[in-house]
């Protein structure tokens, strides 16, 4: 099983390996600064678990777990 971003618990850092999303979601992820090779950190989950918040190099972004599923990652 490949590890994807939505599996990660808050506090964990990882490297982005691959984006499996195309079109709108893929573009949006890239535009917001999620690209292969980036090191990011899961900051927290929302009070109702979803969405999750990430830190990308001093920049904070939130996304839903169903979207994070399309981001393949590697733990560091």
């Amino acid at each position: 099983m490949k590890l994807t971003l939505d599996d990660l618990k808050p506090g964990i850092e990882c490297l982005v390996k691959k984006l499996n999303a195309k079109d709108k979601l893929g573009q949006r992820l890239m535009d917001m600064g999620v690209y292969p090779g980036l090191r990011l950190k899961v900051v927290r989950n929302a009070p109702l678990e979803d969405p999750m918040e990430l830190e990308l190099d001093g920049f904070y972004v939130s996304l839903r777990h169903e979207e994070a599923k399309y981001v393949e990652v590697e733990r560091v």
Binding site: D23, K24, L29, G33, Y35, P47, E49, G58, E66
Partner: protein, 822 residues
């Protein structure tokens, strides 16, 4: 130097301080409009600088310039087709790397770019030191460091814009190196440069990159401009495919990746490494604001405060502003032809109706002003994305969006909101499907204008359970709105565009007073301009529907006779009285008006001093009349007083009867009668029908019309007692059905206009009016007919319906929507 004009576009990512730059440049000369055909706001302004008039267009804040989102498309089209002389790229200095991603795309469009490196103070505080010169050299564009908030660097920015806009030299910026993709791009570019019809219109390099990305809009552009676009498109497709198979990466990802790579390199070479990383203050704050338990508690507190300050306190302010509006009304009244004994001149009744309709709306302005100001505070502080973050999961289950929170709070998620600002606030929701769903359900929430009818009915029919009934009404609207939203997204909205949720959580900011007040004023003004004209037009229509065709000649003759009878009786009673000659002919009517005026004035006056003054004023006006009004010990005057009181009462009764008959006989009244065969299943009689029909313009009218239909038998009887007497067969079950219909009542005119503005189509506007009627009628019928069949009383039916709605909501929450499009 001759006067010259220049067009300048402001572009930048969200939270880069772009609107502050715009405000600082253009000051008060701003103008809001929409981009043609879409609901995106277009802000323009202008300034003069050393003989040049500069027109500034504030493009929407975007992270990129693709054709996936409306804002990005609009910005891109503007740059492509309006060809501004300069693009000012506002970038957040404390987040340079990310901001460069957009800068590169602007550079690619080959319009001279001036980079405004804003928020240098924030960067400094974070120990980020930027080599501005080196950055400018690498980008091939002028870079101006500023702290626009405090005016620092503004002069240099103006100068730089001037230089760039007057420059004759070709703009030769940094060319992003797309690495292995370059040969592919070169092939497309060469092919494009062979097309004469494109020359000078679009930058070829930009066009090639877009075609390589597979950008839909760029392909459309080709089809528009080329007689035979097939060849070029085919070539582009071929290059895309061969790149993907050679490099095992979709071209659009490679392009974005290379941009990030270059951004990394540039920022590394221009930024001195930070010493010691520390968690930003905002993140530390978020530990509480987004905390599992504290977060929601804080959110409830914020919503409560918003509600308390705007709705409760704003309502208190209307106590002070209402007299102003009332004075406007009495001024109008004074210049209109006076009332007759039983007939009112049409121009008088029309003008007063018109003023009343407008006043009813103007009365809300203090509330709106506070509300819009507070929303601006929420927007500027950066709390809005946190609200969305906390509630997204809940709303997402019903096809809504985290960002539906604010619109729903404004619309009246508990009791007392207003759908107009609610619908207005849906603008920020990026997901089209959720945005439309939110627009459609906001009118189902409890706006202020629905409350009077609830209070009236609860006071009569649920007197023993007021608190419970109010709780039911407050929560049932949400329990119906959520499943309805889900139902809409599963049906009519099923194929609407969705957008990923991904959202920046910007650092917190302290809002500026100027920014907040400016926005509040601007939005209130927008509201006045958009709404008042329409409401005025509708007021005319409803007036006609309620006034015409009016009374038949026969009935008119009947009322004239009644009038003569009571007047003759009056004269007979005071025969021989010394006052008689003072009351002949015209004078009688004058006394009627004098009496009316005095009584009204007295009701509004409190305190001994004021009353004394009032008496003095009226005595001066007409000492004889004053004797009749206040006879004290004058026996003859007392006699006239008594007789006149009777006459006055008789007149009032006649007026009421005429009004009732007029409504009964009016177009609206006839409609109310004619739909009884249907509405009886919901328990509505013709009176209720008429009052509901008259509420279309504004919901407050429902209670006012009921007031006119249930006439007073005795002076000072409340509507509650009148209605109870007038409707012996009316039970609490009737009342419940009526209240539920009111919850689901179609939006008022002002709201439907806003729905049109925000949805951009008349079809949605019509839909927002029709579906609540159908649904409301179904619910009212279910409750009334079903309740009657089961022999339930109002309270039992209330409990049953609450359970049903709660169950439906929970079940609907589990139904899955079509997943987001990737």
């Amino acid at each position: 130097m001759k006067r010259e004009k220049r067009l300048v576009a402001l572009a930048g990512q969200p939270n880069s301080g772009k609107s502050t730059v715009f405000n600082s440049l253009t000051g008060a000369s701003q103008h809001v409009a929409n981009y043609p055909g879409v609901t995106v706001e277009k802000m323009t302004g202008h300034y003069r600088h050393e003989g040049i008039r500069v027109e500034v267009v504030d493009l929407p804040g975007t992270y990129s310039l693709t054709s996936f989102s409306l804002e990005e498309k609009v910005s891109r089209d503007f740059l492509l087709h309006e060809k501004p002389s300069v693009v000012v790229n506002v970038a957040d200095a404390s987040n340079l790397k990310r901001n460069l991603y957009l800068t590169f795309q602007l550079l690619e469009m080959e319009i001279p770019v001036v980079v405004d490196l804003n928020m240098m103070d924030v960067a400094e505080r974070r120990n980020i030191e930027i080599d501005v010169k080196e950055l400018g050299r690498q980008l091939g564009a002028d870079v101006v460091p500023t702290v626009i908030k405090s005016g620092k660097g503004k002069r240099r920015l103006l100068k730089s814009i001037r230089t760039a806009s007057l420059s004759e030299k070709p703009f030769e910026p940094l060319r992003i190196d797309y690495g292995p993709m370059e040969p592919f791009l070169a092939k497309i570019e060469t092919r494009l440069s062979m097309e004469k019809s494109l020359a000078g219109k679009y930058p070829f390099r930009w066009f090639s990159v877009k075609l390589m990305e597979g950008d839909g809009e760029a392909r459309e552009l080709l089809k528009k401009h080329l007689a035979d676009p097939g060849q070029v498109l085919e070539l582009a497709d071929k290059e895309r495919e061969s790149f993907e198979s050679e490099h095992d990466e979709p071209p659009e990802k490679h392009i974005a990746f290379r941009r990030h790579l270059v951004a990394n390199e540039i920022s590394r070479s221009c930024i001195k490494p930070k010493e010691g990383k520390k968690t930003p203050l905002s993140d530390r704050a978020d530990k509480f604001v987004c905390h599992r338990f504290l977060g929601p508690a804080f959110l409830v507190g914020v919503i409560y405060l918003l509600y308390y300050l705007s709705i409760v306190q704003g309502y208190n302010i209307t106590n002070y502003t209402w007299p102003l509006l009332a004075r406007l009304r009495s001024l109008t009244e004074a210049i209109l032809p006076a009332q007759g004994f039983i007939d009112e001149p049409l121009v008088r009744s029309f003008s007063l109706w018109f003023v009343d309709s407008i006043n009813a709306l103007l009365n809300y302005i203090p509330i709106f002003f506070i509300l819009f100001g507070l929303i601006a505070v929420l927007e500027d502080s950066g709390y809005m994305p946190r609200m969305a973050f906390i509630l997204d999961r809940l709303f997402n289950k019903f096809g809504l969006h985290g960002q539906s929170t604010l619109p729903m709070v404004l619309g009246g998620i508990y009791v007392g909101g207003c759908a107009v600002p609610g619908v207005m606030a849906t603008k920020g929701i990026p997901d089209e499907r959720s945005r439309l769903a939110t627009i459609m359900i906001i009118p189902l929430l409890n706006c202020l204008a629905k409350v009077p009818l609830y209070v009236l009915l609860i006071n009569i029919y649920f007197a023993g359970y007021k608190g419970l009934a109010m709780f039911f009404i407050a929560t049932i609207s949400l329990l119906m709105a959520l499943p309805v939203a889900k139902l809409l997204t599963l049906t009519v909205l099923k194929n609407r565009d969705t957008a990923p949720f991904i959202m920046e959580m910007p650092p917190y900011h302290i809002p500026t007073i100027r920014g907040v007040l400016g926005r509040a004023v601007e939005r209130v003004w927008l509201f006045i301009r958009k709404i008042i004209t329409i409401v005025a037009a509708i007021a005319v229509i409803i007036f006609v529907l309620l006034q015409f065709p009016g009374l038949s000649d026969e009935r008119k003759a009947h009322y004239t006779m009644e009038k003569e009878k009571s007047i003759t009786a009056f004269y007979k009673k005071i025969k021989g009285n010394p006052y008689t000659e003072k009351l002949e002919g015209e004078n009688l009517m004058a006394l009627v008006l004098y009496w009316d005026e005095y009584k009204t004035a007295k009701m509004m006056t409190t305190g001994e001093e004021a009353t004394k003054l009032l008496n003095q004023k009226f005595e001066e006006k007409n000492p004889d009349f004053f004797k009749i009004v206040q006879p004290k010990k004058d026996k003859t005057a007392k006699k006239v007083n008594r007789a006149f009181k009777k006459l006055f009462k008789a007149r009032k009764k006649l007026l009421r009867e005429i009004k009732k008959e007029k409504i009964d006989n009016s177009f609206l009244g006839r409609l109310g009668h004619s739909i009884v065969p249907f509405t009886q299943w919901a328990g509505f009689n013709w009176r209720v029908n008429v009052s509901l029909l008259s509420a279309f313009a504004a919901k407050e009218s429902s209670v006012a019309t009921l007031g006119a239909l249930y006439q007073q038998e005795e002076e000072g009887e409340t509507l509650e007692t009148r209605m109870e007497k007038g409707e012996a067969g009316f039970t609490s079950l009737h009342a419940l059905a009526l209240m539920l219909f009111m919850v689901l009542y179609p939006p008022c005119i002002a709201t439907t206009i806003m729905v049109k503005v925000q949805s951009g189509s008349y079809r949605w506007m019509l839909f927002s009016m029709i579906y609540p009627i159908v649904l409301g009628f179904m619910v009212a019928t279910l409750v009334f007919t079903g309740g009657t069949a089961l022999g339930l009383n109002g309270l039992q039916a209330m409990a049953a319906f609450f359970g049903l709605a709660l169950g439906t909501t929970i079940i609907m929450g589990f139904v899955k929507n079509r997943p987001i499009s990737m």
